[in-house]
Subunit: 408 residues, 2 copies
């Protein structure tokens, strides 16, 4: 591997961008109630105007506002009640000057009315007469036809991760089904002679597989599919077979370990052997995560992640997840916060540094505390809430500086 030719993280994103169009992910139509977290494969426009009629937002009396002008608790306006409107029914009577109709919250405004007096500001003298104690203006306490959703407006953009609120908007339209991208398929391979699986006995010099569990469960959480999760010894043939099968069965192959400058480094050779373009990123000038390789075989991305859990997880977050978003045409939308650093953060000049942090609150301010440790440590990651990116031209950041924390 040519480690003297590392790329910056920005160059890596450009290389990914160049090849993203090789993907052409199918879509499928699913029921709306199953769509949470899936990625919309279509732009959805409104079909129905919401509300489809002008409706009251309170319990009260539908009136023409002119009839309430000057009304107060000492000099109320007195109006005739001409109808009691039922929920879900169209009013039968038009309101004329001097008239009012009782209307429940959500009820349809009768013709001739332009506003609603809240029940708290009115009192019925008898069945036919209502006293109004407070004036209303045109449009008070009503939601006009189309106020919420107008005709032919864009409800969901293509590439949007569908939220519960999007589902509400689509439900309001009577849209029962939505076209989403199919789940992406992944093969995750952990390599290394020292790696043993969760149910194996552990011998001296060995460690348990961690990366494939973290990455697989995060992918599943994002509604993707892990078709295979394997541990492969550092043998060229075995790795080649596993990656080949992975490329055939999945959309992306993630290999962790085996990309350091060790003697048993076959990942790069395997990717190059399996197809064009082969490896196009030989190391990234970031910390942690330098020994990352990225290649393409049969138009599919193959990522060689570092073996250290903390490094592997940073690369998964900043490179793999970003590639998934690009393949599905998703917008980059991360939850983040600006936080004050509670101590000095060192960085490696010339390399973009990603520092995991814990976020906490003190006296109405958010602080970020670095989660320090060596890159092999998994316990660190589970204590972190997010990370800070320190640019390659910075020589660390001083205590008290305010920086953006990307939540993980």
């Amino acid at each position: 591997m040519d480690f003297f030719n590392t790329k910056s993280i920005e160059e890596v994103y450009e290389e990914i961008d160049k090849r993203v169009d090789n993907y052409n992910i199918d879509s499928e139509e699913i029921m709306l109630i199953d769509a949470i977290g899936r990625i919309s494969a279509e732009e959805v426009k409104s079909r129905e105007i919401v509300p489809s009629f002008t409706r009251s937002t309170v319990d009260g009396y539908a009136v023409s506002c002119k009839d309430t002008f000057g009304a107060s608790s000492t000099i109320p306006s007195m109006l005739s009640i001409v109808e009691r409107i039922d929920m879900g029914e169209a009013p039968k009577r038009e309101i004329k000057s001097g008239e009012a109709s009782y209307i429940p919250t959500g009820g349809m405004l009768p013709k001739g009315a332009d506003s609603v007096v809240m029940i708290e500001n009115a009192e019925e003298l008898d069945d036919q007469t209502i006293m109004i104690y407070k004036a209303v203006s045109d449009g008070s306490n009503i939601l006009r036809r189309g106020d919420d959703i107008s005709e032919n407006s864009i409800l969901i953009e293509k590439g949007k991760a569908i939220t519960a609120y999007d589902i509400g908007v689509l439900a309001s339209q009577g849209i029962e089904k939505i076209r989403v991208f199919r789940k992406l398929k992944f093969t995750i391979i952990s390599t290394g002679d020292e790696i043993v699986d969760i149910d194996d006995d552990i011998k001296s010099g060995q460690i348990r597989d961690i990366n494939s569990y973290v990455i697989a469960s995060d992918l599943i959480n994002m509604n993707h599919e892990v078709v295979d999760r394997l541990i492969i010894k550092d043998e060229y043939e075995k790795l080649r077979e596993a990656v080949k099968k992975g490329i055939d069965n999945s959309d992306m192959v993630l290999i962790s370990g085996g990309s350091s400058v060790g003697t048993k480094d076959y990942t790069s050779d395997v990717i190059n052997e399996l197809g064009k373009d082969g490896v196009f990123v030989h190391g990234i000038s970031i910390k942690p995560g330098k020994p990352t390789i990225i290649g393409e075989a049969k138009d599919k991305f193959v990522f060689g992640l570092p073996g250290h859990p903390a490094s592997s997880i940073i690369i998964y977050n900043i490179v793999v997840k970003s590639s998934i978003r690009k393949v599905l045409g998703m917008e980059e939308k991360e939850k983040f916060a600006y936080c004050k650093l509670d101590s000095n953060f060192p960085s490696s000049s010339g390399k973009t540094t990603y520092q995991m942090v814990k976020v906490y609150e003190k006296k109405g301010e958010l602080y970020a505390k670095p989660v320090f440790g060596k890159s092999g440590m998994i316990s660190l990651i589970s204590k972190a809430d997010g990370y800070i990116k320190i640019d390659s031209d910075e020589e660390g950041i001083y205590e008290g500086a305010v920086r953006k924390v990307i939540y993980i």
Copy 2:
């Protein structure tokens, strides 16, 4: 309903707290790989020390640091290579003064060595001799036995929502299964003569059910189970039957609509009829969301949410989700950010106001923009990123003030 006896949101939380112990949710043991997003029902302690042996964090040469003191590119230290350590194997040779062993990243440190010189800072003269160009100190480039996870340390607290990173920590321990709380079961009922389902034709005066879709998909997203989702006309008997069945089949029943001061308000009576304590919250002094009722029947919570989507969703977020967390003994952990308000935010004095906002970034600062609109509007909600809580003794907030935004 006694709307002159509304409770503050703090009082509502106290009332919920008093009754949470009536729940006793069973747990189940599941495979680790399926545990993402589930709630741990046990405190999990470490079983295995990680790493179980002192290991190298780089490719290099295991040495005694004393042997490198003073080494530089002009005056290198020269050491004898006594072994090439294999990954996953225990070293066969102890290091003595003047000796070094080649060690790969993750390899087990041999006895006698206390540090590792990176491959970049060394050069092999021949098979048996290595030149060291840079001194290392005790502990350089190694991770000591137990550095990551020590014996009997707490890995997962009871009540924690399990993340991908927690799964990594448990995998490192060979913990294949974890005990989690079973999924909570919910019945969601939308009431109202004007409400029609997603696949019905819509007539004048009617609107489609929105709330049950939003809430059901959010609950499913949190790994809970929606056993029933119903639309019930405003008829006492039908509502009573639906709520009774809901209480029998689920852990909580959510009713939306039917809790306004309208003539067809049966929710309160139904809850009171079905069992103790009956309704214990008759309205909350917040905006939006005032017409909320909360009761208990057969030791289960029944929530009467407002019918307006925006109000209903606020109450779902601040009351129902908080109750779920309490029932499962989860810590309150919300993602939030401090944002500068980009305009004046009015509020209702005497009521805690929840203002939905959109979060955006400008020149390295986060801003919150109010998503204004009437409480019946669903389109607003899907545009919001979170909400700001304005306390009851505030009379609104001025542009430029910095406030906490809770992400939804």
